[in-house]
């Protein structure tokens, strides 16, 4: 029929296979490199932070599969995380000592944790399947509420789970911060999301997000797609939970409160719903931000009040300006930066003035760690006011994208065409 395709020197299948293998090897190498560097040069506390950053990247990227790519608004992601942690908790309590005693060669901690990840994935994926089912009937805010409720049910069940110490929690056996495994998991989540989006199945996920009815008309099985998204997302969260449990060693329902889900949600929304690189970068940076706040010296109360008032005024002014101005992008950006500078000066002056008010200056200074969740809340609100689609929106981070953004924002040259 058709003439044979032009003979290319390299076989595309073989080429993709080679690049796939190469990137897999690269990821493993990178994961071990991170482990080596953080183990050699960082304190054990900082090493733990490197580990937890990977956990949050995994959580954010896996929630992005549900929230961003498939468009099912889930706000109970910590439930799956908790299921993973409690699976390994229960199994380790039951069997870890026995394995240690029985075998001639004591079981390696790493191997045990990998094994537990396997079980954690099974249980949390099953939970994801159960939560995915109602998503067939509900959408938008109703689904959000159901996922939130599911998360709380899981947490309250854990509080009644006396085998694991109930509300107090329990200590579980092998204590190990497996940095390489955590980062490998994060890379796996990123890689899987990326490959998913390149495949036909990924297009089905996207079509469900954009328009369910049109997707059905095109022959996409909505049921399967939605449930698959929940299962994949929760499986990664469960695996991350296993690693987290072995790093924390003391697990209790308090670790998995509702706020955790909101933090992960903030990460996904900040990065841009649907953007894999966005969620990964937001996961790492938003995880680090509150940790950096801990290092801050205590803030005098007067300055804090000044900052709050100044922040409200600045945000209001910015919002008003960005809504009403029709200037060029570059002018607009410059003005907004100007408003922010004025706002910061205003905050400083206000803080200084307020410190003369006796009742305010008498208040105890505020520790940086107290601001941890406040930062997330403010991030969420400011983001929604100014850029509801997130920093990266639906785009992926790439140099090409960055260049195109810069070209739009920076003043154009004469030869440049106006957009």
């Amino acid at each position: 029929m058709v003439a044979s395709p032009p003979v290319s020197k390299s076989n595309p299948v073989a080429k993709s296979l080679v690049s796939g293998i190469l990137s897999a090897v690269g990821c493993v190498a990178l994961a071990f490199l991170v482990q080596y560097i953080s183990g050699q040069f960082l304190s054990s506390y900082a090493n733990g932070l490197v580990f937890q950053a990977a956990t949050f990247v995994t959580l954010a990227v896996s929630l992005n599969i549900v929230n961003g790519i498939t468009g099912q608004f889930s706000i109970g992601h910590y439930a799956f995380f908790q299921i993973g942690a409690y699976t390994t908790g229960a199994l380790s309590l039951l069997f870890w000592k026995k394995f240690q005693g029985a075998a001639n060669v004591p079981m390696q901690e790493d191997i045990w944790i990998v094994l537990m990840m396997f079980f954690g994935i099974i249980t949390s994926a099953f939970a994801g399947w159960i939560v995915g089912l109602p998503s067939l009937r509900l959408r938008g805010d109703y689904l959000a509420i159901v996922t939130l409720g599911f998360g709380e049910i899981i947490r309250i069940s854990a509080e009644n789970f006396t085998f694991m110490g109930g509300a107090t929690g329990t200590k579980i056996a092998p204590e190990k911060t497996v940095v390489w495994l955590a980062w490998l998991l994060a890379f796996a989540a990123i890689g899987l999301s990326r490959n998913l989006l390149k495949s036909v199945h990924g297009l089905a996920f996207l079509s469900v997000r954009e328009d369910e009815i049109a997707a059905t008309a095109m022959g996409v099985n909505i049921t399967r797609t939605k449930v698959a998204a929940f299962v994949i997302g929760s499986a990664f969260a469960g695996a991350a939970g296993v690693l987290y449990a072995h790093q924390q060693t003391f697990i209790s329902p308090d670790l998995f409160k509702m706020d955790g889900s909101f933090i992960v949600l903030t990460m996904v929304i900040f990065g841009g719903t649907g953007s894999i690189t966005g969620s990964a970068l937001a996961g790492a940076s938003l995880f680090y931000l509150p940790e950096a706040l801990r290092e801050l010296p205590p803030v005098p109360f007067a300055s804090l009040v000044g900052i709050v008032l100044g922040l409200i005024a600045t945000i209001g002014a910015l919002k008003r300006y960005s809504d009403q101005s029709h200037a060029k992008t570059s002018v607009k950006a410059a003005t907004m930066i100007g408003i922010i500078v004025v706002g910061i000066v205003f905050m400083a002056i206000l803080g200084k003035l307020l410190s003369f008010v006796p009742s305010i200056s008498a208040h105890a200074p505020i520790q940086g760690s107290q601001l941890r969740l406040v930062v997330f809340a403010v991030t969420l609100i400011v983001l929604m006011l100014f850029r509801p689609q997130g920093v990266f929106a639906h785009h992926e981070f790439s140099w090409k994208w960055l260049r195109s953004v810069l070209a739009r924002v920076l003043p154009k040259q004469k030869e440049g065409l106006s957009s």
């Binding site: 608004f73 706000i75 109602p134 009937r137 509900l138 959408r139 938008g140 805010d141 109703y142 959000a144 509420i145 159901v146 409720g149 599911f150 709380e152 049910i153 309250i156 069940s157 509080e159 009644n160 789970f161 006396t162 085998f163 109930g166 009815i213 706020d259 909101f262 949600l265 903030t266 929304i269 804090l304 709050v308 409200i312 209001g316 919002k319 809504d323 505020i366 107290q370 601001l371 941890r372 969740l373 406040v374 997330f376 809340a377 403010v378 991030t379 969420l380 609100i381 929604m384 006011l385 509801p388």
Partner: protein, 396 residues
């Protein structure tokens, strides 16, 4: 059995049918508070199609306001002289609480929700979550919360109980109780006399020991007989504070119904809830109606907060998460009744209270909070529009 072994928190309690009426009444009284909060959720949802997550925090702010007012009246934790309470103190508290809550609701709507009205609904929902977190954790910086303060129970002048007897206690048991009492009194007096004799010795003598044991046994027997007598009847005990709460709740609901059904503004509200855009085209000032809705819902939450912390559960500790659970349960109540439906919210709230106290009655006290969510999921799956909601398919 395996499950039962793992979750030892689950006693398969013997259900005591005699305490059931008390539990149902408790549930109804409790549910009236939920109903009051649920009205705020349901009205806002009816108008803006927005789940106002920050509603629980508005409730929390109301509780703090009444705390500060009670401190202003001298009921501070380290007051040396216990001040005398007046009925109008309560009135000032509830009015202040309603005012502050209403103001908070309006401010939240104006600065967090209104700028996003043209965005997708999810954007407002996320802002609402952010607002809720901001008030919970930001409030910790500004409001007194460690150790958690509480409103002095003494500010409530109504501290009595109302006891309603449904089934009279068994009279045959009275005699047994009386005789047990007699035995107890004689044993006690004998032991007292012996105690006087042995005042100086550290250890009681053999005779004294026997008398002491006998007195203790008679004590136990008497308490047992008394319990038997009391349990043979069915009665309902209601603290007056709770009754007042419920009465005030229903008065407020009546006022709300009047406002919605018989005033011009209420008619405008119903129109906006029916069709936002058409109402705007008909010359209704939509923004002022939305503000009015937030005022109504938030003032009701403020009233509920004051009554919950002062009259209903006097001495309840207040922290910035005070509104979290009541808020969530009230939301479930609104969903049960069909969100957007005002009478539905009231029925849903009462139902929610009863369900919760029945779960406690069955012995699953530690699962009470989970029950709300289970009910929520079941209702959403079986009847997403609630008991009274109209079934309208979401159009493309």
């Amino acid at each position: 059995m395996v499950l039962h072994g793992l979750f030892l928190g689950l006693p398969l309690a013997a259900l005591d049918i005699r305490t059931l009426p008390q539990q149902i009444v408790n549930g109804l009284l409790n549910g009236s508070i939920y109903a009051l909060i649920a009205l705020g959720y349901t009205m806002v949802y009816g108008i803006l199609k927005l789940i106002n997550f920050a509603h629980g925090e508005v409730f929390m702010l109301g509780a703090y306001t009444s705390l500060f007012v009670s401190w202003a009246f001298g009921f501070t934790p380290n007051a040396t002289v216990e001040p005398q309470t007046q009925v109008w103190y309560l009135l000032v508290m509830i009015v202040a609480s309603m005012t502050v809550s209403g103001l908070a609701g309006v401010l939240i709507e104006r600065f967090a929700y209104r700028p996003l009205r043209n965005q997708p609904r999810i954007a407002s929902l996320i802002t609402a979550i952010g607002m809720s977190m901001l008030l919970q954790y930001g409030g910790q910086l500004f409001l007194p919360n460690s150790p958690p303060p509480n409103i002095d129970a003494m500010i409530n002048p109504y501290r009595g109980n109302v006891n309603i007897t449904l089934v009279k206690s068994n009279e045959n048991l009275v005699a047994a109780m009386k005789s047990a009492e007699q035995t107890k009194l004689t044993a006690d007096s004998a032991w007292d006399a012996q105690k006087k004799l042995e005042e100086n010795s550290f250890y009681p003598s053999a005779k004294g020991q026997a008398l002491q044991d006998a007195a203790q046994k008679a004590d136990r027997d008497y308490i047992e007989a008394q319990g038997k007598y009391n349990n043979s009847g069915v009665s309902i005990l209601m603290p007056v504070g709770r009754i007042i709460t419920t009465v005030v709740t229903f008065i407020l609901m009546g006022v709300l119904s009047y406002l919605i059904l018989f005033t011009k503004r209420g008619r405008a509200m119903r129109a906006v809830s029916h069709d936002f855009d058409s109402a705007a085209l008909m010359g209704i000032n939509v923004n002022s109606i939305v503000t009015f809705t937030f005022i109504l819902g938030s003032t009701l939450a403020g009233a509920a907060a004051m009554m919950d912390a002062t009259l209903y559960q006097p001495g309840l500790q207040i922290n910035t998460f005070f509104g979290l659970l009541p808020g969530v349960k009230a939301f479930v109540a609104a969903v049960i009744g069909g969100i957007g439906n005002v009478p539905g919210a009231v029925v849903g709230g009462l139902l929610m209270g009863v369900i919760e106290s029945l779960v406690g009655w069955a012995g699953y006290t530690s699962w009470q909070d989970a029950a709300a969510f289970v009910v929520l999921i079941v209702v959403l799956l079986v009847r997403p529009n609630g008991l009274f909601g109209s079934t309208a398919a979401e159009k493309v």
